[in-house]
């Protein structure tokens, strides 16, 4: 694909260029909504509508008032703070537990591997609405089932609490961590840990000084997926959370339902900017990992 050979026939040339055009159209399809969001967030009106003033590039048709609204409105600020409080903790939970489990799963002799994997991946495959309602009921009245005894009811409730939302989001993020970390571990050379052990390193030292730096890109990218899962999650938080845990997507959802305001688009634009920054970080990490991998044997 890297360039057209000089001996290409006319047919090949036509195909080569039309293929590029097709791909261009698909890329356009992918980012079209974003191209709409950004200008509309500077709309001077309170609707999701391209006004005649905007189309005429009249400065009167544009304004930054929706950005001001986002930064001054206490509801939006609370939602932003909540999102920032919930997503990192949920991510940390899924990353730490998920990485350990992925290392366990990547060992050569794991009994019931397929079954365990299926359970761990399940939060990704169970339709969200089912997960949300199930968690809603169960977190309201958590219990531990004891065979031949019945239910041991726990004396607290998780619905409408911070930890309830964090637990739910952590569960939803886990499949992403498992998938990316196991994928990185497939390429991990187990002889490195043996070498470290040979030289007298304990399992903890080996993990942090040998294994972790090499699988870090997988862990980070799994973590980013888990973070985005929590950061963009609306169905579960609507059910499990309450006003105290109102996150950005929650605020957007009620906003879309009760009063359409381009503030939602302003928030989205800011988030897009953050996403671009995150993607950039991811790309840097990937390049770093490639450098490290270049050094590792095999």
């Amino acid at each position: 694909m890297s360039g057209l050979p000089p001996y290409a026939s006319t047919g090949q040339r036509v195909w080569y260029y039309s293929f590029r055009v097709i791909c261009g159209v698909i890329f356009f399809f992918l980012i079209a909504p974003i191209l709409v969001i950004i200008p509309l967030s500077f709309n001077a009106e309170n609707f999701f509508t391209f006004t005649p003033e905007m189309l005429a590039f009249d400065p009167a048709g544009y304004s930054t008032k929706h950005y001001q609204d986002f930064f001054t409105n206490s509801d939006w600020q609370l939602a932003l703070r909540n999102s920032l409080k919930i997503a990192p903790v949920a991510t940390l939970l899924s990353v730490s537990l998920g990485t350990l489990a992925a290392i366990g799963l990547s060992q050569s002799h794991v009994p019931f591997r397929r079954a365990i994997m299926a359970v761990l991946i399940s939060p990704m495959i169970v339709p969200l609405i089912i997960s949300a309602t199930g968690m809603y009921f169960f977190y309201s009245n958590p219990y531990i089932p004891i065979p031949f005894y019945g239910k041991l009811e726990l004396p607290f409730t998780l619905t409408g609490t911070y930890w309830g939302v964090v637990l739910a989001h952590a569960a939803l993020g886990i499949p992403f961590v498992i998938i990316t970390v196991t994928a990185t571990l497939v390429g991990f050379d187990q002889s490195l840990t043996r070498a470290a052990a040979n030289m007298g390193a304990g399992p903890v030292t080996t993990f942090f000084r040998v294994q972790m730096p090499l699988i870090l890109p997988g862990v980070v990218s799994g973590g980013l997926f888990a973070f985005i899962t929590s950061f963009d999650e609306v169905v579960v938080v609507l059910f499990v959370g309450s006003a105290g845990q109102k996150t950005l997507p929650w605020q957007m959802f009620t906003g879309l339902r009760e009063q359409i305001s381009p503030t939602i688009l302003a928030v989205a634009t800011i988030l897009i900017a953050v996403s671009v920054a995150l993607l950039f970080v991811l790309e840097m990490l990937r390049r770093r990992s490639e450098r490290l991998r270049g050094l590792s044997p095999g």
Binding site: I34, V110, A118, A171, S221, F225, F239, E283
Partner: protein, 504 residues
């Protein structure tokens, strides 16, 4: 044959086995925390929810005496039940009204039979003012002991009295429990309510020996059947009683029958009337639309993945950002943006009219129908197709294609016979991922799907938050989950879950 020994003198085989066991344990110890976490925070809630699809304790909990009395009623007799059932209903209703559970039961049964809700609400309001106060007056007039709360408490603590008037004793116990739980009062200081005297009267008439003998023959009996019928003549409706009887057991398959447009009748499952059938159509539609979305994703995702896999890394990574950016933009915002783009006065139609492809009065209907759902969801799920495809294509050496061509294959043959078969695992992975994710979606279809572009999940959400028919929601959810699990199993068999990569 001599046994091979390890360095420490044990047999090598045992030593190896021990090492293997230790390795297994260590692996399990690493997995255990997460496994327990997922089981508790995720699998249990799902199991708990699925249980609601068969659970049906509310009828026998709210109307225990009525349910028991109904056992001897023959639903095919064509007659509403007799006085005994209404006596039981009176006690149940009087208690349920205090617990305020009668209206809850009413709305539960209203899912099965329209009108039960108001029947229960009306009867609950009136049940305290039934004419049964004549019994209470008769007893109190006959002997003041019957008006003394502490005397009642003493009788009910006495086993011989309890044995003589067992029904009254049970009714009194239920009443006392209610007084403590609802009113926070001491039953020994409260005079029993009319329904307790009613039980006592019924037993006295049947010849039971009362704690203090009273001649009740002079009391004009009050027909509770008539009292209830006076409140609402629907108490004579056989359908009401049939519904109560059918839903009396603690577990029911009624919700599942309902989810496939059937009805739980007295003689088993029946078809629902044509005008109420929705779910089978919805399930089929959800499947077909998810398949279309999956097809669209393959169609659009394959060229992109191919391009990305065959470009120089630097360019590919740049273009990859275009794929990942929408993936990381809020789903709600993207869906709203599609609304702006697709509506009849929207950007796409405006452009088409401006170019002249479409007449101004013939603007295309792109939203609030299946087209809208398919476009928006294809967009949302496309990255889930591109990423696995890309990671598979990256592993196909470009030299294979060149070899095929140098052996005389045309471009098409080389692609179709050499490259495509090797990319099939990626297509499989992407397809199943997109399909599984799409059949569970509900927010996007809700916002852009109109009436014909909504999925079964929308109905589940409706039953959870609006109609409060949680049992039906659970049954619909169980069916959906079963379908997804089946697909997952197929996927694991064909592709293997380890082969999913998310671009990292």
């Amino acid at each position: 044959m001599t046994e091979v020994l390890a360095a420490d003198g044990r047999p090598l085989k045992a030593s190896l086995n021990r090492a293997l066991r230790r390795q297994k344990l260590r692996a399990l110890a690493l997995i255990a925390p997460l496994l327990i976490f997922i089981l508790v925070s995720f699998v249990m809630p799902i199991a708990d929810m699925l249980f609601r699809s068969v659970e049906n304790e509310i009828v026998s909990d709210t109307l225990p005496r009525t349910v028991q009395a109904l056992e001897s009623w023959d639903s095919s007799s064509g007659e509403a039940p007799g006085e005994a059932v209404f006596n039981a209903l009176y006690t149940d209703m009087a208690l349920a009204t205090e617990y305020k559970s009668h209206t809850r039961l009413g709305s539960r049964l209203n899912y099965e039979l329209t009108g039960v809700s108001s029947l229960f609400r009306k009867s609950g309001r009136r049940v305290k003012r039934f004419d049964t106060d004549v019994y209470a007056d008769a007893f109190r007039d006959a002997d003041p002991a019957y008006a003394d709360p502490s005397q009642w408490a003493a009788w009910m603590g006495d086993d011989t009295v309890r044995a003589a008037v067992p029904v009254t004793a049970a009714t009194y116990d239920a009443w006392a429990k209610m007084i403590v739980e609802v009113d926070n009062d001491d039953p020994a200081k409260e005079e029993p309510w009319d329904f307790v005297y009613t039980s006592l009267y019924n037993e006295a008439v049947a010849g039971a020996s009362l704690p203090v003998a009273v001649d009740v023959s002079g009391v004009e009996p009050v027909s509770l059947r008539e009292q209830f019928v006076e409140v609402d003549k629907n108490w004579l409706d056989i359908d009401v009683w049939q519904t109560i009887k059918i839903y009396a057991p603690k577990y029911t398959n009624g919700y599942f029958l309902n989810s496939v447009d059937l009805l739980k009748g007295p003689d088993g499952a029946e078809a629902r009337p044509e005008s109420e059938r929705i779910y089978v159509v919805l399930f089929i539609r959800t499947m077909i639309m998810s398949l279309s979305i999956m097809g669209m994703c393959v169609l659009l995702g394959y060229p992109i993945a191919w391009l990305l896999a065959n470009l120089k890394d630097r360019t590919a990574n740049l273009l990859m950002i275009l794929v990942l950016l929408p993936f990381w933009t809020s789903l709600l915002v993207r869906t709203s943006a599609w609304k702006v783009l697709l509506q009849q006065q929207g950007v796409i139609n405006d452009v088409l009219v401006w170019i002249g492809l479409v007449a101004d009065d013939g603007r295309l209907q792109l939203i609030n129908n299946q087209t809208g759902t398919i476009i928006a969801m294809t967009h949302i799920l496309l990255p889930f197709m591109i990423l696995p495809l890309y990671s598979v294509m990256k592993t196909i050496p470009p030299s294979y294609l060149r070899a095929a061509k140098s052996l005389g294959a045309t471009d098409w043959t080389a692609f179709w016979r050499v490259y495509f078969p090797q990319s099939v695992p990626g297509i499989g992975a992407g397809c199943i991922l997109v399909f599984i994710l799409s059949i569970g979606y509900y927010i996007t279809p809700e916002l852009v799907g109109g009436t014909k572009g909504v999925f079964i999940s929308n109905r589940i959400a409706y039953h959870i938050s609006s109609s409060l028919n949680w049992g039906l929601a659970a049954a619909l959810g169980s069916i959906l989950l079963a379908v997804v699990l089946l697909l997952y199993w197929v996927y694991d068999k064909i592709v293997g879950i380890d082969n999913v990569k998310l671009g990292g």
